[in-house]
Amino acid sequence: MKAPKGVVIAIALLVVILVISVVTWSLRVQLYSTRAPFSAFLILLILLVAGYVFMEQARLGRSFPVRKIPAFDAIEEAIARSVEMGRPVHTTFGFGSISSSMAPQYVAGLGVLAHVARLCGKYGAKLIATLGVPEVIATTEEIVREGYYSAGRPELFDPAYNVRYLTDQQFAYASAVQATIVRENVGANIVVGPFYAESLIFMEAGNMVGAFQIAGTARETQIPFFVLVADYSFIGEEIFAAGALASGDKETLASIRAQDIGKFISIILIVLGVIMLLGGFKLVDSLNWVWKFG
């Protein structure tokens, strides 16, 4: 029986990692942190393998239904409402550098932007994408152009109007975004990405013009503002699921299943740990065990 190409690649990668580990260990090169618990490495490995397996299954045709996320379904309603009112749609996904640990949130924001652009093309809505991430100006322009072109409305694409890079400095970006929301009298304000203290400023500006607001971030300190002020909000990890849903790509959706496996493992370990505590066994010690070698 011939093994699938993907499995061969996965095994080859694992062999390469193993060989590198052995070589670096023999040369006394510290490849792994001797302070991090081994369980973290094990969980990461499980998640990587699970992600690969589910994506491979998706490639072979398996689908992974995602539960309903009200904020995601509301995006279409917000855009349709803006068109009815003759007002533009505003979207933004934050400021700063994309090569930071916030990168996954920027990707989710870009995924939602792609969905919004497609819908704007479908309904003939004017889209204003403000951004404070200089590295993705070209990508944003491409996404918005693709949205209008795929809907057969190339005449609506005007890069100078649709894509507005402001600055990567937090409050200068915030002051310009709030002014854009108010001056353009936007009908829908869709903000998904990593946001900081500017989150409430955007929500308040949207509120001033009576915009339909959909917001989401995985930064826990800013979620309360979005939950309180926006009409619909993505709470935490929902933005990643929204990004995957927006892409409509089966393989990206399969990666959500791998994330769920991680959460499921966490639930099991917590419940198991609490039960084992009754018998006097501390699972915490096992989870904190550090493999010291070399």
Partner: protein, 242 residues
């Protein structure tokens, strides 16, 4: 004679008041303050980037080329990636800009991945494994809440693994447990968000008071000028409204 320091303080006070005036409505002075702020920030970013490029790459490559090419040649890679960004202006080669974005994203994702398994998974799990029985009732209640809300929160964020209810049939025990945990999770989070919200607002009010103290406390005339500036902004806003 007015010193630069005093002039700077006046300009800063005026900009603060003009920015605040947006709370009433958009006006010409807010626009002026916004454009100064935006222009300064953009200029500052460019200056910072050019300075960094000069310090890290251009100066060492020109002054000590031997040492640079022997030890720091890899700095050329980000420069090439940066230059690829300009490909967006070419209709034919615009796709090259994607490579620079892809590398940046990969670096960011890698950085996120490095810390997540320890900080967001293992440390969270170990902090939640708590004794649910004991002599101190307050601690026991606290532990129960901690465990239930954490498990509930995790259940809420399960997007593809969840039991489905069959139409017309009574809910299965698994479904009932799932729904109970789901609601515990969402209500627990809402309580947490409320506390976070109050905490953040408290900090913001602190900022507001400190601004008041800076501009209103030392000089009576400064307070009067600030009030006049605010009044001008409001009048301009009101005129625009008409």
């Amino acid at each position: 004679m007015i010193s630069w320091e005093v002039l700077g303080a006046w300009i800063s006070a005026a900009l603060v008041v003009w920015i605040y005036s947006f709370a009433y409505r958009d006006n010409a002075l807010y626009k002026l303050a916004e454009h100064i702020f935006l222009g300064t920030a953009a200029g500052y970013s460019i200056a910072l980037a050019l300075d960094s490029l000069n310090r890290v790459l251009i100066r060492p490559a020109v002054t000590t080329p031997g040492t640079f090419w022997a030890t720091s040649w890899h700095y050329v890679i980000p420069v090439v990636l940066g230059l690829l960004m300009f490909a967006k202006y070419s209709r034919r080669y615009y796709w090259l800009a994607r490579y620079a974005v892809a590398v940046n994203l990969a670096v960011g994702t890698g950085l996120a991945l490095r810390a997540v398994p320890v900080a967001n998974i293992v440390r969270q799990i170990t902090a939640t494994i708590l004794p649910l029985w004991g002599s101190d009732p307050v601690k026991v209640v606290n532990n129960w809440l901690m465990v239930l809300i954490t498990v509930g929160g995790l259940t809420y964020f399960l997007f593809t693994i969840f039991p489905r209810r069959v139409e017309g049939a009574p809910p299965s025990p698994t479904y009932q447990v799932y729904r109970a945990l789901y609601y515990i999770g969402i209500y627990g989070m809402m309580v947490g968000f409320g506390a976070l919200f109050a905490n953040t607002i408290m900090t913001r009010v602190g900022f507001l008071i400190s601004i008041y103290l800076i501009y209103l406390q030392p000089q009576v005339w400064a307070s009067i000028v600030a009030a006049i500036l605010a009044a001008i902004a409001i009048v301009l806003g009101a005129l625009r409204k008409r």
